[in-house]
Structure formats: C-alpha cells, structure tokens
C-alpha cells in the first residue's frame, strides 16, 4: 500500500515536472526530450497461513492486502511449541527474489525463542507459489517457573525484482 502511494505521488511529481518543462519549452522556445520507462509493479503476497495444532483462543490472520500476517498463540508449559506455516505467492508479472527475513527474537529472559525460516535468495517466478515455510515458536523446556506474560514477535521479509529476469 505504501509503495502504491509512493508510486502515485512520484508519478504526479514527475508529470508536474514534465509539464513544467513542456510549458517552459513552449513559451521560451526550449527543446525538451525525454523517455518514459514503463515498470509494471512487483507484487508478492502471503498465502495459506496455518498454526499447527491450533488451540482454542489462538488465531492467525492475513490482512486484506495480504502483506501482513498476524498470529496469537498460547503456550502453557515449557517445551510447548507452535509451528506457523505460510507460503509466498508472486501475483505480479515479474520474477521476484526474496531477500531476507529479519526477525526480532524475544528477550532471553522470557525463555521463548523463535526459529525463523531461511528465505534468502529464493526465486519466485510470476504466478508461482513458494514452498511452505514455517516459523517455530518454542518455550524452552528448561525455562520452567516463568511467569505468565505476553511476548511480541516481529519479522519482515523483503523482496525485489529479480535482476536476471528469472534466469
């Protein structure tokens, strides 16, 4: 959504610039030459989010533009773990490459750690769906006695147009 807004804003600015230059060239007899580059937008979406063995009061959700995956899990004892699986779908007409997934680990005092998936350099052709990836959240079996707490987990996955055109 941000990218679209940015694209729109910059396009408007560019149009204004070209119009100004055109106006200047008309009124002051200046010549203006330029070229237009048409770049179809690259768009990757998250798909098929699932919490393995989901319990009551747990949930997982994708926002409408499929860019944000949010989940809520409940761990009841050390050794408890949850596997959150998802796929990435390339819904654009350009080949894309996943760059990296940057995850923020919870503080070590919580006894909870997260195993984020390795996605660096994965190529996704137009229309293709990635294999299933997983985020593993574990309450360390040796961390008993931890108080009840809510732990926030964040990660972001960047992608870019494949420079080699999918080759």
């Amino acid at each position: 959504m941000k990218n679209r807004t940015l694209t729109l804003t910059l396009s408007l600015l560019l149009s204004l610039l070209i119009s100004s230059a055109a106006y200047a060239s008309l009124t002051r007899s200046l010549k203006f030459t330029g070229s237009v580059v048409s770049t179809p937008p690259l768009n990757l979406e998250l798909a098929n989010p699932v919490i393995g063995s989901m319990r009551q009061d747990e949930n997982i959700d994708l926002d409408p533009d499929k860019k944000n995956l949010s989940f809520h899990i409940i761990l009841t004892q050390p050794g408890d773990q949850r596997l959150i699986t998802f796929q990435v779908e390339n819904s654009s007409s350009l080949p894309a490459r996943l760059q990296n997934l940057t995850g923020q680990d919870p503080p070590s005092t919580t006894g909870v750690y997260v195993v984020w998936p390795e996605l660096d350099d994965v190529l996704l052709m137009p229309g293709a769906e990635s294999p299933e990836y997983s985020i593993l959240v574990i309450w360390d079996p040796s961390a008993f006695g931890a108080p009840a707490a809510d732990i926030t987990l964040h990660a972001s996955l960047q992608y870019t147009q494949d420079a080699e055109g999918g080759r």
Binding site: T76, L101, V137
Partner: protein, 186 residues
C-alpha cells in the same frame, strides 16, 4: 551569455530531478516488504490451593480457636488454644493442584512464629514433607502424601510460655503460605 548559462543550469537541475524521481519510482515498483506480527502468550496456569484445613479433634471456637484459608487459598491462618503445659494441637490441611501443569512444592512461606518460639512453644512444620513434593495437575495431596500437619506444643519445659505471649495467655496465632513452582519432567 548569462541567459544561456542559466538555461543550461536549469536543464541540469531538471535532468537530475527527473533521474532521481524516475529511480525512486522504479525502486518503489520493484521492491516490497511482507510483515509478520505475532503474540505468544505464556500461560502456565500454575495454581495450587490449600484445602480441607482443620484442627484435629475439632475447632474449639469457644476458646478462640480458628482455622481459616484465605480467599485466594494460598494462605492458612490458624489460632490454637493451649490450656496448660504438656498439651499440643494439630492443624491439618491438604494441597490441591487446580492448574493445568504439574507443580513442585517448597517449604511454607511467611511463617510468623518468632513470638511463640521465644515463649518456649515448639512448632513442627511439615517442611520435610512438602519440600520437592510433586503434585500433578488436577490432583490433590491426599494420602499417601497428605494431609500435612502442623503441630503446636506447649512443652512442660516452658511453664511460663503463656505469660510470655503478648496477645493472649493461651491463644497462639500463626499464618503460613504455600510456595511452589512448575515441575517439568527431567
């Protein structure tokens, strides 16, 4: 001449701006980010409660005896009546695991027996029975582990105990809370 230079500069400025804007558009269109946001709630649901507390032989309310479990069922407060030296009273209780995870007991907490000990009374706490005892989820400490007992004794060797107790000559009040942590199978 000056006008031509100005125009050239204008071209350069427009050119740089156009390149910058074009690059920004291409970059914005060719990259993106997906986000993952989650919450992991640690809900150990670890809870033990004191239950079935009483004084052996019945609570002598006429002489001020009482045996009260607190509202959160974590603390037991009792008052026993000792009529004369060489007598004792026994308070018994059980502990129930009402949580969803197994628990391991520790000795009782917040035991206030300083005054009684100074007066020469002997109090036997069930610490050795409680320490490290495992109470599994949804079970109680009833036999063979329980019930646990606290014995308050006025020994014949402390004939002046009653006069040394500030509150009342024959009534002694104590309070103790259970202490525990989650038990995980090694």
């Amino acid at each position: 001449m000056a006008t031509t230079t100005k125009r050239k500069n204008l071209y350069i400025v427009f050119g740089v701006l156009a390149i910058f804007l074009l690059s920004a558009i291409v970059y914005a269109a060719a990259t993106g980010t997906l986000f993952f946001n989650g919450t992991a709630r640690l809900n150990p649901d670890l809870l033990l409660e004191i239950e079935d507390a009483t004084i052996t032989g019945g609570i002598d309310t006429a002489n001020g005896e009482s045996c009260v479990i607190s509202g959160d069922k974590q603390t037991l407060t009792f008052t026993v009546y000792l009529e004369e030296p060489n007598t004792s009273r026994e308070v018994t209780f059980d502990i129930r695991n009402v949580g969803k995870v197994d628990a391991q007991l520790a000795p009782l907490l917040e035991v206030d027996d300083t005054e009684a000990l100074a007066a020469g009374l002997i109090i036997t706490w069930p610490d050795s029975d409680l320490e490290d005892l495992i109470i599994y989820a949804n079970t109680s400490s009833v036999a063979p582990e329980g019930p646990f007992s606290i014995v308050v004794e006025w020994p014949s060797t402390a004939p002046d105990a009653a006069s040394l107790l500030a509150e009342s000559d024959y009534e002694v009040t104590f309070s103790a809370s259970i202490d525990y942590m989650q038990y995980v199978t090694p």
